[in-house]
Symmetry: C2
DNA sequence: CGCGCGTTTGACATGACTCAAATGCTGTGG
DNA sequence: CCACAGCATTTGAGTCATGTCAAACGCGCG
């Protein structure tokens, strides 16, 4: 088995299959920065990457308003980013799965804009930004790849904004589930059966809904045979119908 | 006078003051790509920029799902981007003011993710992306600047997501008004008195509210002496109180 | 086994949407 | 210059979805 945990962590498998010490044999290769880089350039990139140890649940990776030094790429597990308003109310601005970048929005301001926390046991790669920029001056393709990642996150965020401006809870949840589905599929996992690594409370917060509404939605969607949920595992039964729910 | 229009267009002034034909003497210089570039590099950048003619109200700049070729920078006026779901319902994903980039989210997908439309009479600079990339290979600082712009928009979008997940209309409008205020101030305009170039309907749509709710909010905010509105012009009277409204 | 937290379910209040209509503004043509 | 058409904005009344409060339930962890 790929893991010795009692419960198979959805995203541990690919990272551990090869136990990557280099980008070269990382299963996330094609989702990440190495894309299109020569072997020589890849070796240079490899040398500046710090492969951090394991994060347990709810450990803080960095805090909002601290100096930006490092970009992170999730290798396994899940992270979330949160901002806290002056009332102390927390708002989750994003979940991050393997191959996704954390901290891109801090490049401009040179300080992290949100607090990043692990949602479950997770690992990641750390890319010191100054060294990455030095490298980028010699490897234009690397700069392009970083920009492309940033563009991709922009594109995601726009979709999320559309999701959030829907004034209909059904549409919000349906859209969110399909977005998860697409991201999992992109990573070689099932598009219809996956594990919700984050608690209901976090999904609700992220979607701007009350936990109770979330829970009721899960129940109703199940009654309507759109999904089946059992604790953290979920199966999407009727993708087309979920799709139509998205459009109000 | 800087303009011969009957009504002074808020953002016409700076663009017309110097009537820029080159980045060098453009008043948006410091907000835009030229930042930190040598004169030599700037000349090269200048040469690939196409300074488009004037757009009238409600003209389409590009449509969603068409091939991405060009980044745009607003020189004067306002643009908006919209996505349309399969029900034909439009959602405004962003407004763009002078010095802001349109199309950054299309770099990854290589097709525009939204339709861009002028909100009022506007002008812009067009940057062919392939030529920009060629130039970037020789000018690392240019690549960095583009990435920084992209990062800045990410940062903006995250804020907007926080705004949209608020389930309280007062907070949404207050946050939005303060965000406009900050952007105007950044461009050297008053932080408390400005013109809403977009119709109420568009603001409502952008914030995920009904037009009627928007209108009622404006009325109530006025009654509570937080703002004064007269048609398209608005004055923020009580920034601190607006600020507290943002936090639910 | 029992505690605590995450989740579910119920009852109720309320804020925002919908529908409807009045009013105001803008641009156009006579 | 005025009249009018069309659209944007405002205001009102009523409904409904979602939030809030409260309590029960169940699962995981110590």
């Amino acid at each position: 088995m790929a893991t010795n945990h009692k419960v198979v962590q959805l995203f541990d498998a690919p990272a551990q299959r090869h136990d990557p010490v280099a980008c070269d044999n990382c299963s996330l290769h094609s989702l990440c920065l190495p894309l299109g880089l020569s072997n020589h350039d890849l070796t240079q990139l490899d040398q500046i990457i710090d492969r951090k140890e394991r994060y347990q649940r709810n450990e803080v990776l960095f805090r909002a308003n601290t100096p930006f030094t490092t970009l992170f790429v999730v290798r396994s597990g899940t992270f979330k980013t949160t901002v806290t308003d002056s009332n102390g109310h927390e708002q989750i601005t994003g979940f991050y799965f393997p191959g996704e970048f954390i901290g891109l929005d801090a490049i401009y301001t040179e300080s992290y804009q949100a607090t990043a926390t692990s949602v479950e046991t997770s690992t990641l790669c750390a890319l010191p930004f100054d060294r990455l920029q030095n490298l980028g001056a010699d490897i234009p393709q690397l700069q392009v790849n970083i920009l492309r990642r940033s563009s991709k996150e922009l594109s995601n965020d726009k979709s999320l904004m559309v999701l959030l401006s829907k004034n209909n809870a059904d549409a919000k949840l349906a859209t969110y589930l399909l977005s998860l589905s697409a991201r999992f599929q992109e990573r070689g996992f099932s598009a219809t059966k996956f594990r919700l690594s984050m608690p209901r409370k976090d999904i609700a917060n992220h979607l701007g809904l009350a936990v109770e509404t979330m829970s009721r939605l899960f129940s109703r969607f199940q009654k309507e045979k759109l999904i089946t949920v059992a604790g953290k595992s979920i199966t999407l039964l009727d993708l087309p119908k979920l799709q139509t729910l998205c459009d109000h």
